[in-house]
């Protein structure tokens, strides 16, 4: 990249030089006509007639002829046509009028004046029009996710995964993809405020310095700092320094996403505080207990990569050892869509099923489990236990972050019993800051405030007023604190109640360090100066410690220097770490943990005996806005949820049967869902709230799910007022599951929920073709509906194609791997400047996503057995139906087989969309794009046209990336190589479901995939011959489980998947 960048600048300088070299010659060329005697012809004759060489002293000498004199005096040379007609009045006026008219014409499209100022001194490596990539890390919930940030002229525009980072391996998630918009969010807080008035950072530093004296004298008594989960070594180091200086100061951490349960569970089972992580490349059988490890948690992206590496069955060697995933779950999520077997149960039943399996494996002495020792539940427990036992150390049980610590302890016990610790499960020293009992930590802070022990409170990067549970009156408590400081990206619910508000810098504009899920230290480097002078947690802590003059960069360097092995060349290490985005070999030390049987037995006892009502409620971080921190990110707000396909809102989710029981039976009509959802009053203990109800087929009966992160009172122009705040009913003592005392009452009135997909069923159309692994192994060619091919002789075409002798781009999407995580969708939005349309327009069916993920429910006799994802970008058909019908040739075929859109030719007849069987075309019904807001202009990809009103658009296979690679290849006089063009969706996909490349290259990944018997075209019978094809969905079902559950064999035929 770097070497490539420097070349064009050399070329340009050469060009300039050669131009200037030519200049001295120019006068001699132009003077030739002047030296002509009379006219050119005359001069030629004159010179031809003269014999021998002729010499003259001067031009006057040569030209001293009367003709020349005359010519000089004539206004026009003789060649020029002279108008010798009479200049009568009419003619003059005619001409004057015409010239006036023509002059007016040229004024029609006057461009506003623009100044282009070239660099006086070009920064190194910076070539206008060429992006640079820098490694950095994105913090999510405190943990690092390695990314490469694409920078155009100093503006970060897009994030890619960092292939060398252990938490990424090249993949990303939707949060990383959307964080570019977070950076340029015009609603970010832009100034330091004190008591609501504009202040300055230095005023704050002074105020803090004034306070510091008193605090130090008191040993820090009354000083409290509240942060989120933190892994940053620098923050931890500064906190340690603070503890040294002010031993009475306290650090509280707030967990808003549930991973403290994981930590507490590990501690419960092992007796030590440890981090747990998994290696899914080694796992043959995986049991997920209410877990979405593929999409949630610090290692999610890595886990997706690892997990899918065992599921890419187009590769025969992978098909041999395909892993099997059981999901026992109370809430549906991305993992549910790839599970080989799903068992939907209430939260308490999930725990009991875990116990039933654990006792079968001898991990715990199970207490009596009513109902789990007989019938179907026993079959499930038996079969899963048998499967796990058979895999032994190559099996793994993963409990979800939001499940109770007790369930985590049981999962650890099962893993220990299976012998998987060391192969698929690893314990390491803690990665996050060692604050015990994070969940209690925040409650403790509130208790301390209540008892007047807190005088100074620094709230750094969290929003406790919003995140508080029901009954925690944070604003009232905050008013008791004498000095309240809030560091946040937005003026939010908490900043309202604080004296000072400091704008927090985005990770793309600040220095920092973080640790990944496995402990690897990752450096965050700024790509741009803070847009609004924001400060990071490190800088605020520095100010508190009197280090305001030390830059964050130096603080981070110091931390790394302190941890670096002595005698090493630190500068070299620093530059290396900065370049790689991570510090080499900094992963946390692996511990050998032994499960404490007694503790697990106690945990098992409490799991078996707790209250278990018929209606239970779970809270989950939302799959898009997370815990609410991304509520003002329009890309995420408009991103459809993996399961519900809802945008801009959350809702109370329940199964059709539960809906029927609770009086919402009318919602369950056929396979369609209406957008006007009925309102319900959800009561938990003393608290209640109003929330719309949405039915999710396949969710556990009796299990209600309410996603968090919505109902923000003050999030910014995008997020404020969207959805419903679960905090109103969330009990402080049980943040994630309420197993008793939940009731739902139907209210009058409805609420409009904007879903991008209202129809659930595939209507027996072979859109997603699927087969069991067993069937596929037996007969790869004919498993599932793969045999549904169309006889080519039926075609009226003669079968000869354009030769495509250069490149033939194609895409393959693996439906076995896709978890529906939406990373591709947001990546595409970021790469291609796709506008956001807003909730009303989604309700109108006008969302603009170029790639969408279709979700179908499949199963038999009304029972939802599986949910399938199908990402649908433009199919780039060989015989594209859109091209024929466009009257203005705005969509045409390229010589590399792309179906190109010519935006400035599009008049907007929308005929192409009508004739597209895949409905992948998107139309700008209004001027959706924000052309006005300056900060949003910075974030756009300069390589992609920003579309205006009335223009059709669609997936281009990231043609700008193809062009960029083509330019590089042309300059090196070669073809574009495999892997050189990575589409945005492909690059973002954490499960490698998308492959893209040149079909002319038989060795390319995409060509190999297309050679697989699993490859099929969507709607092949239409004869459009899509370039985007799919790899059929293979489920590694357990034949023995299916046999026992259904001896008649009705649901064995998963082969003809698809809908009911």
């Amino acid at each position: 990249m770097e070497s490539r960048l420097s070349e064009p600048s050399e070329e340009t300088t050469q060009m300039k030089e050669s131009q200037t070299n030519r200049l001295p010659n120019a006068p001699s060329e132009t003077s030739a006509p002047a030296s002509a005697v009379n006219t050119l012809v005359d001069a030629q004759e004159h010179l031809a007639a003269s014999k021998g060489p002729s010499y003259w002293r001067s031009l006057e000498d040569l030209a001293a002829t009367p003709q020349f004199e005359e010519m000089v005096h004539r206004e026009f040379p003789r060649q020029a046509a002279e108008w010798d007609g009479q200049v009568d009045r009419r003619k003059f006026l005619t001409l004057a009028g015409a010239s006036l008219g023509l002059a007016g014409l040229t004024a029609c499209s006057k461009q506003p004046g623009e100044k282009i100022i070239p660099y006086v001194r070009q920064p190194e490596e910076l070539v206008p029009g060429k992006p640079l990539f820098f490694a950095t890390s994105m913090p999510l919930d405190g943990y690092a996710r390695g990314v490469l940030a694409e920078s155009h002229m100093g503006r970060p525009t897009k994030l890619e995964g960092n292939p060398e980072h252990p938490a990424s391996l090249g993949g990303t998630d939707l949060y990383a993809q959307a964080s570019v918009l977070g950076l340029y969010d015009p609603d970010r807080s832009q100034v330091v405020t004190h008591l609501g008035k504009i202040a300055t950072w230095s005023a704050f530093v002074d105020a803090l310095a004034a306070r510091r004296g008193t605090l130090e004298a008191l040993g820090g008594e009354g000083l409290r700092i509240l942060t989120g989960t933190t892994t940053s070594p620098t923050v931890i180091r500064l906190m340690a320094q603070l503890a040294e200086k002010m031993p009475q100061a306290r650090w509280h951490q707030m967990d808003t996403t549930g991973h403290s349960n994981r930590r507490a569970g590990t501690e419960m089972a092992l007796g030590v505080d440890a981090e747990t992580h998994y290696d899914f490349t080694q796992a043959d059988v995986v049991l997920a207990l209410d877990s979405d490890f593929l999409n949630h948690g610090p290692g999610a992206v890595r886990y997706s990569k690892d997990f899918s590496s065992r599921r890419q069955v187009a590769d025969p060697s992978v098909a041999e050892g395909m892993s099997r995933l059981y999901s026992v779950e109370s809430a549906m999520n991305g993992l549910s869509t790839v599970a080989d077997h799903r068992l939907a149960l209430r939260p308490t039943e999930v725990a009991k099923m875990a116990l039933a399996i654990a006792s079968r494996l001898g991990a715990v002495d199970s207490p009596a489990l009513g109902g789990f020792d007989e019938g179907d539940m026993a079959i499930w427990a038996d079969e899963i236990a048998a499967d796990l036992r058979q895999a032994g150390g190559r099996a793994v049980v993963v409990a979800g972050d939001q499940t109770s610590p007790e369930l985590h302890a049981v999962a650890h016990a099962i893993n220990a019993a299976l012998g998987s610790v060391g192969t698929t499960v690893f314990y390491t020293e803690p990665v996050a800051a060692p604050v015990v009992g994070q969940e209690g930590s925040f409650a403790q802070l509130l208790a301390d405030i209540a008892s007047d022990q807190v005088e100074t409170l620094l709230i750094l990067g969290v929003n406790p007023v919003y995140a508080a549970a029901a009954g925690q009156d944070v604003p009232a408590l905050l008013s008791k604190v004498k000095l309240r400081v809030h560091l946040g990206t937005h003026q939010d619910e908490t900043s309202e109640h604080c004296h000072w508000h400091i704008p927090e810098s985005h990770f793309l504009e600040s220095w920092g360090d973080l640790r990944a899920f496995d402990g690897t230290v990752s450096i965050c480097q700024p790509l741009i100066q803070p847009l609004y002078g924001g400060k990071s947690v490190i800088e605020v802590l520095g100010a508190l410690l009197g280090l305001a003059t030390t830059t964050a960069e130096d603080l981070v360097r110091e931390t790394l220097q302190g941890a670096a092995p002595t005698g090493a060349d630190f500068e070299r290490l620093w530059r290396r770490s900065l370049h790689d985005g991570q510090v080499a070999d900094s992963a946390a030390t692996v511990l050998t943990g032994a499960v404490n049987g007694e503790a697990v037995a106690t945990a098992a006892q409490s799991l078996a005996s707790g209250p278990a009502a018929d209606i239970q409620l779970s809270f989950r971080p939302d799959s898009r806005v997370f815990d609410g921190r991304f509520a003002n990110n329009a890309w995420l707000q408009e991103c459809p949820d993996t399961i519900t396909k809802l945008t801009w809102d959350n809702a109370l989710l329940m199964s059709p049967a539960t809906a029927e029981t609770l009086g919402f039976g009318d919602l369950v009509v056929g396979n369609d869902q209406r957008s006007d959802a009925p309102m319900a009053r959800l009561t938990v203990g003393e608290c209640s709230m109003e929330v719309p109800v949405w039915v999710v087929p396949g969710q556990a009966d009796g299990s209600l799910v309410l996603p968090l992160g919505y109902g923000r009172r003050r999030a910014g122009g995008i997020g404020t007022g969207q959805g419903f705040d679960a905090g109103q009913v969330r009990p402080a003592e049980s943040l994630w599951q309420v197993t008793d005392g939940v009731s739902v009452e139907r209210l009058e009135g409805t609420y409009q929920l904007a879903s991008t997909q209202d129809h659930h069923s595939m209507e027996d159309r072979h859109l997603v073709r699927a087969a069991s692994l067993e069937a596929y192994r037996k007969d790869p060619e004919h498993a599932g509906a793969q045999h549904l091919h169309v006889d080519p002789s039926l075609s009226m075409m003669d079968g000869t194609d354009y030769p495509y002798d250069k490149h033939r781009w194609g895409m393959s999407i693996d439906l076995t791997s896709c978890t529906g995580c939406n990373a591709c969708l947001v990546a595409c939005q970021s790469e291609n400047n796709i506008p956001v349309v807003g909730k009303d327009e989604v309700l109108n069916g006008r969302e603009m996503h170029w790639i969408r993920i279709d979700r179908y429910f499949g199963g038999h006799s009304g029972q939802v057995e599986e949910i399938v994802n199908q990402p649908v970008p433009c199919m780039q058909c060989e015989q594209a139906p859109c091209e024929v019908v466009c009257p203005v040739a705005a969509t045409v075929h390229s010589d590399e087989g792309l179906n190109d859109m010519v935006y400035n030719r599009c008049v907007g007849t929308r005929y192409c969309s009508n004739n597209c069987p895949y409905k992948v075309r998107r139309f700008n019904f209004f001027l959706y794009q924000d052309f006005e807001t300056p900060s949003l202009q910075l974030g756009r990809n300069p390589d992609v046209t920003v579309r205006s009103r009335g223009v059709m658009e669609k997936c281009t296979y990231c043609v700008q990336r193809i062009s960029s690679a083509r330019i590089t290849a042309k300059r090196e006089n070669r073809k574009i190589r495999e892997g050189e063009v990575v589409t945005a969706c492909q690059g973002a996909c954490p499960s490698d479901a998308i492959a893209f490349g040149d079909l002319n290259d038989a060795e390319s990944q995409v060509a190999k995939r297309k050679a697989s018997p699993l490859d099929y075209s969507l709607l092949v019978e239409l004869g459009n011959r899509p370039r985007t094809t799919y790899l059929g969905r293979i489920r590694n079902t357990n034949p023995s489980l299916l046999q026992k559950l259904d001896p008649a064999g009705v649901s064995h035929q998963t082969d003809h998947s698809g809908g009911h």
Partner: protein, 468 residues
């Protein structure tokens, strides 16, 4: 001026067969027809002012709807993906269809020497012209950026070397509709010239004289003029005749060329042409019946005219109904599950089933009474049935456009569609525009071809003819 003796001496004449009531002379025809134009404003029936008022309000609505559209874009309509075509296309097809009766009456019936066309042809042609004017608005406004449509859709040599995509049916539409509009205008105007001259000669003031004088292009009624006129009129009739069939066939290609289930059918061209004539006659009846009674034109637009039009409506309506039946047959015969779903499941039993049922009610069941002479001779019944048919033909386009689009191949993209208030605003606006033009025409232009009517009275005939 002599008051024409209406029906005085024609008691024994069968008005079911007569194309003009007995007792008329050249003078009475001229007097009667030009009276409508030259009578003082105070003599204009009050209800015409009512219609103008309604039309005026709707034209205002049209202007607001267009302005809103141009400023904000097609998003103000109910469109979405998958239903990217909505009211604009429905209304285009509806209006173009309505125009067809005019061309059929004036061109084909002229060539077939059907004398009964004479009294209604000018009226029907005017209707064609105004319907085309309304129709033309829709494809232009349909993109929300009409200035671009003009720029890109017309083939002209340009420096980019770009031509329109001649494979696209929308380009065929451009030529079909513009040809149709031009020929209709010429045909109508050519037919008007002798009568405009009559009006000029009978003008009562200077303004009328100058205006009609210019419009009549110096017509003096010489034999040479008549000779040229007859030739031109016949040629234009010949030109118009294929247009009756071609315009709506081309419009139907917009649908049948695509691969959408419910559109992709070979029956579309004849089915559309029949539907167009059906809708056109319904509209002619809808307008003729009140005008005939208001201006007492029963002598010229006789019961025979109404009956003939009713018969044509019945015939074309049955052809259209046959088309509906054939769509079902084709769907099953093709064995294509998408077609079967679109035609046989989603239309009669999908979310828009009531629209489909209303269509069958309006276009098939409602015309069945026309088998009975009592219904055909009752102006009230005819008017009601024509009204129902006009609604039915609009519904037919709704069924074709919307019901086919809203559920196509991938169930994931299925969605619902309903017209927004601006969709309705534009639609009602064009109806108002049409009404205004139509009744301005009725009031200010001789609505019956006087000189042609004169050929029907005995003294105008070279040889006696008997209707049979």
């Amino acid at each position: 001026m002599a008051t024409p003796q209406t029906r005085s001496s024609g008691a024994d004449v069968d008005m079911d067969k007569a194309v003009i009531a007995p007792g008329h002379t050249s003078a009475t025809i001229t007097a009667k027809v030009s009276e409508v134009v030259y009578s003082p404003i105070s003599n204009t029936p009050k209800w015409i002012f009512g219609i103008w008022a309604i039309g005026f309000v709707l034209v205002m609505l049209l202007q607001v709807s267009i302005a809103k559209l141009l400023f904000e874009g097609t998003g103000i309509w109910g469109l979405n993906v998958p239903v990217a075509w909505g009211f604009a296309i429905i209304n285009l097809v509806w209006w173009i269809g309505i125009g067809h009766a005019g061309t059929l009456i004036s061109a084909i019936l002229l060539l077939l020497n059907q004398q009964w066309r004479t009294s209604i042809n000018r009226f029907a042609e005017a209707m064609t012209l105004f319907a085309v004017a309304c129709a033309v608005m829709f494809p232009l406004l349909h993109t929300g950026r009409p200035w671009l449509a003009a720029y890109w859709l017309l083939p002209y040599p340009n420096t980019m070397g770009m031509w329109p995509n001649f494979r696209s049916p929308l380009i065929w539409d451009v030529f079909a509709i513009s040809t149709y509009g031009t020929v209709s205008l010429l045909f109508w105007f050519t037919g008007l010239v002798p009568d405009l001259a009559t009006m000029r000669d009978r003008a009562k003031n200077k303004t009328q004289k100058v205006l009609f004088g210019m419009l009549s292009l110096g017509w003096r009624g010489s034999a040479r003029h008549w000779h040229n006129y007859e030739k031109a009129y016949l040629l234009l009739a010949g030109l118009s005749t294929p247009l009756v069939l071609s315009v709506h066939s081309v419009i139907s290609f917009d649908f049948s060329v695509s691969q959408l289930p419910g559109w992709h059918a070979t029956i579309f061209p004849p089915y559309f042409v029949a539907g167009a004539v059906f809708a056109g006659f319904a509209m002619v009846l809808l307008l003729t019946i009140p005008v005939r009674s208001a201006f007492h034109l029963e002598d010229y637009i006789t019961s025979r005219h109404l009956q003939n039009m009713a018969n044509l409506m019945l015939v074309t309506g049955m052809i259209v109904s046959y088309g509906y039946a054939m769509e079902f047959f084709f769907a099953f015969y093709s064995g294509n599950p998408f077609e079967i779903f679109a035609i046989a499941e989603n239309r009669p039993a999908g979310p828009y089933k009531y629209q489909w049922m209303s269509l069958i009610l309006c276009n098939f069941l409602a015309i069945q009474p026309l088998w009975f002479k009592r219904v055909r001779t009752s102006t009230t019944w005819l008017w009601i049935i024509s009204f129902i048919v006009s609604i039915g033909m609009w519904l037919e386009r709704f069924v074709i456009v919307v019901i086919s689009l809203h559920r196509d191949f991938l169930p994931s993209s299925w969605d619902m569609y309903s017209g927004s208030k601006w969709d309705w605003g534009l639609y009602l606006g064009t109806i108002g525009f049409f009404l205004c033009l139509m009744f301005l025409f009725v009031r200010f232009v001789p609505m019956i071809a006087m000189f042609e009517m004169k050929l029907l009275i005995p003294e105008g005939k070279v040889e006696e003819e008997h209707d049979g």
